[in-house]
Amino acid sequence: MPHRLLLPLLAALALLPLLPGFPPFWVTLLCYAGLAALVALGLVVLTGVAGLTSFGQAIFVGFGAYASAILTTRHGVSPWAALPAALLAAGVMAALIGALTLRLRGHYLAIATIAWNVSFYYLAANLDLTQRNDGISGIPPLRLGETALTEARAFYPLVLLCLGLALLATRNLLDSRVGRAIRALRGGALAAESFGVDTYRAKLLAFIYAGLLAGLSGWLYAHLQRAVNPSPFSLTMSIDYLLMAVAGGVQHLGGALLGALLVTLLRDQLQSLLPALLGAQGNFESIVFGLALVMLLQGAPQGLWPLLMRPFARWNGPRAAATPPPAAAPLPQRARPAPGTEILRAEDLQKRFGGLVAVNGVGFHLEAGEVVGLIGPNGAGKSTTFNLLTGVLAPTRGAVRFLGTPIAGLPARRIATLGIARSFQHVKLVHGMSVLENVALGAHLRGRAGALRAALRLDRAEEARLLALAWAQIERVGLAAVAHLPADSLALGQQRLVEIARALCLDPVLLLLDEPAAGLRHLEKAALSCLLDRLRAEGMTILLVEHDMDFVMSLTDRLVVMNFGAELAQGRPREIQRNPAVIDAYLGSAA
């Protein structure tokens, strides 16, 4: 994301009203554009980054505005002191709505927020608390010392300040431990859960953050307009906010700014221009807007900001070569069990999908410091067994104990905290995030910094340690040269190595690797084999699924063979190679 242009853009916006002859009405428009940009910025985090759509942001603007209006007009609270209350009202409402909806699939949120917004509008229009359709007027202006910020020209710097701070906080938030968890929500939720991220909480966090920005916008609105009524908090306004974010570029901070400016200014112009041009009254601007937006979505689904940024790509410099993050103190490591002690025992594992029994009565144990191969023909149930061990699936029957704790049926993120890390057969990396950031996602459980510390940049010491750890693991798998590239731009074999580096970041006791060598070239395979050997020497326990028999036989201490969901044989590689049942399963028996 090119953030560098945001500062000059904000500066230009700040200087604009100082131009001689700049019409005062346009300053008012810029104020409203700024308020809308705050809400759209929340949608960038919520919709663009976390992939959740809300058609209800006007609710939170409304909560912020009404909270401040009621407190200042009826309870004599000063407008400044009403700000925390406004934020609290919006935040609590977002938490409530989010808790109800965010466990469901994405489009439920979209439709539910529509329903919430319609309800909110009718409530505000019919409750005595909000003074029904008349609304609350006579809201006191904000004061700085003796001066009241009644004029748009005086109010505008405050809007810009809020916007600037919000942009900064949003950038900080997304570039942090919590930010990586939020960014992983789109398409990487399962992987994130497997590394200890509570994706429901991450979604809730994104939703509350967007709600808070909307609440801030509402507080500003109440004291700029100095009167509130239900109409600016209707569903139509929520739709408008989403239009702004999408038109500007919903995955870019600058997109929120650009979209809000463009839509606010254009709408105002069209409202006066179109009826004059067509010689008739009517809301022609919504027709033009609707059509323009559809055309934009067809031509530039990413929005206008990335389109505008293309010529400036050089400004952000040629892509710098990968540079290691500054060195930092190493993170504490968990105690390793003594070599040879039993760390995992699976007994009588069974998994049914309806009538299909994918895994049937599988049992084995793992000892600290050994490499065990789980092999078998395609469809034997190896990956399902992995999913049962890591909590991605709950077993229908059977028990798993890991370091003495029963883990069968626990959620993936709980099992991750105990020290089991894994890679996936179908690579699950977060698109658009660099290799370094993807790997750092694996270190999620080794940091503590929350959203507030991240937004205020108080997490840097910890973040440096996480990134240094991630870098060290990337070096270990031999990908240091490409650490800065988007992870999805790598070859498949390299992406598998990224997954291994990510798993190592968890500081696991047990590493589960699902076909780590698939797609690797000969030399890369040899390097991987060396790496796994080294890990074993360090006391790591590894269970791996792999089809490359040379790789498996030379590396593993023991093998578990599966066929048709059931366990076929267990033993040392040499014994397994001579086992007639295994030979039958792989080659078919002579008829």
Binding site: L100, R103, Y108, L123, G187, V294, Q298, P301
Partner: protein, 347 residues
């Protein structure tokens, strides 16, 4: 509240619920087949009703011109999409399938106005004018972005809703209209007074549901649509053309919505923007059915109709609030029943 009021409220609730149920049905069809959450369905409700009202008033509705325009747009879009492999027959088919319905609609409208026509014929004309817009819009707007995510398609739908609502205001003005009832008779069953129109609404709803069940269960095209709903890629691999399914789904949905508007406009006044609110209730019903189950959506629609009519009687100011808050227990129930949904990949 005495028995007669209770019965009136129940009757109102069932009649409105039937309309919401039809809309929920249409929404589920479009969503499962094309992944489009079709917000502008509300405009089809308004357009259907108000086009009929204008025909009754002896005026040429603006929707006729819009249909013609969209027909041209759809023809152009189809030709453009097929530009690499155009044959004379293909060109003719593109033009004919787009322009014929538009021409037919204009002809019917003109005939109704020129000679005066009985109400059923006017209803037919209104349907013929409004329904083709749906597949035309699919051709011009949605097909060029068929691969986009559910979110992008949803936002395009919202944009289209805005544009169509703006057009609705121009075509029909800000005043509301009511249309003639198809049956003015009143039926007295004990303490219950049943209007002929509500019987017609119920009958049409039931017939439509039965027809749809037959269509989806027993015709090749219906089965193709179901296959597409279950697995889009799989359906393509067995040579079910996605565009055909999209056309059928949109035509069905557009027709059902317009008919819903026409039916309800005889019992209440409709404005250019009323359709949206009616459609939102259809959405809530569809959500109750998980955007997938037809029977659950129909039950949800009935529930919404009943809650609405009782709320209108007991707490009229908070009618809409109560109706839309039905969604809370539904969401709670769904959250608890289902394991946390991990949205994998771009939907």
């Amino acid at each position: 509240m005495d028995l007669s009021i209770l019965l009136v409220l129940v009757q109102d609730g069932i009649v409105n619920g039937a309309i919401y149920g039809l809309l929920a049905l249409a929404l589920v069809i479009v969503f499962t087949v094309t992944r489009i959450i079709w917000v502008p369905i509300g405009e089809f409700v308004s357009f259907g009703a108000l086009t009929l009202a204008m025909l009754e008033a002896g005026q040429m509705p603006g929707t006729v011109a819009l249909t013609a325009l969209l027909g041209l747009g759809a023809a152009a879009a189809r030709l453009w999409a097929a530009r690499a492999r155009l044959t004379p027959a293909g060109v003719a088919r593109c033009l004919l399938t787009a322009l014929l319905p538009a021409g037919l609609a204009a002809l019917l409208a003109w005939a109704c106005l020129a000679w005066g026509a009985p109400q059923p014929l006017r209803i037919l004309a209104a349907l013929a004018i409004v329904t083709p817009m749906a597949p035309f819009l699919y051709d011009t707007l949605y097909r060029p972005m068929a691969g986009a995510s559910v979110l992008v398609l949803l936002i395009a739908s919202v944009a289209l809703h805005l544009a169509l609502q703006g057009l609705g205001l121009i075509f029909f003005g800000a005043e509301g209209s009511r249309t003639e009832s198809l049956a003015d008779s009143l039926l007295e069953i004990g303490p219950l007074l049943v209007t002929g129109q509500s019987l017609i609404i119920l009958a049409v709803t039931l017939v439509l549901i039965a027809a749809l069940a037959l269509f989806f269960g027993h015709t090749l095209l219906g089965k193709a649509l179901r296959a597409t709903a279950v697995n889009r890629l799989g359906a393509r691999l067995v040579a079910i053309p996605p565009a055909l399914c999209g056309h059928v789904a949109f035509t069905l949905a557009g027709g059902i919505a317009a008919l819903g508007g026409i039916l309800i406009s005889a019992t209440t006044t409709l404005y250019y923007d009323t359709g949206f609110l009616i459609a939102l209730k259809g959405f809530v019903a569809a959500v109750i059915g998980g955007l997938a189950s037809y029977p659950l959506a129909a039950l949800g629609a009935l529930l919404i109709g009943l809650v609405e009519s009782f709320a209108a009687f007991n707490a009229s100011a908070f009618k809409e609030v109560l109706v839309f808050m039905i969604i809370i227990p539904v969401l709670l129930w769904r959250s608890w029943r289902m394991p946390a949904a991990l949205d994998e990949g771009e939907e």
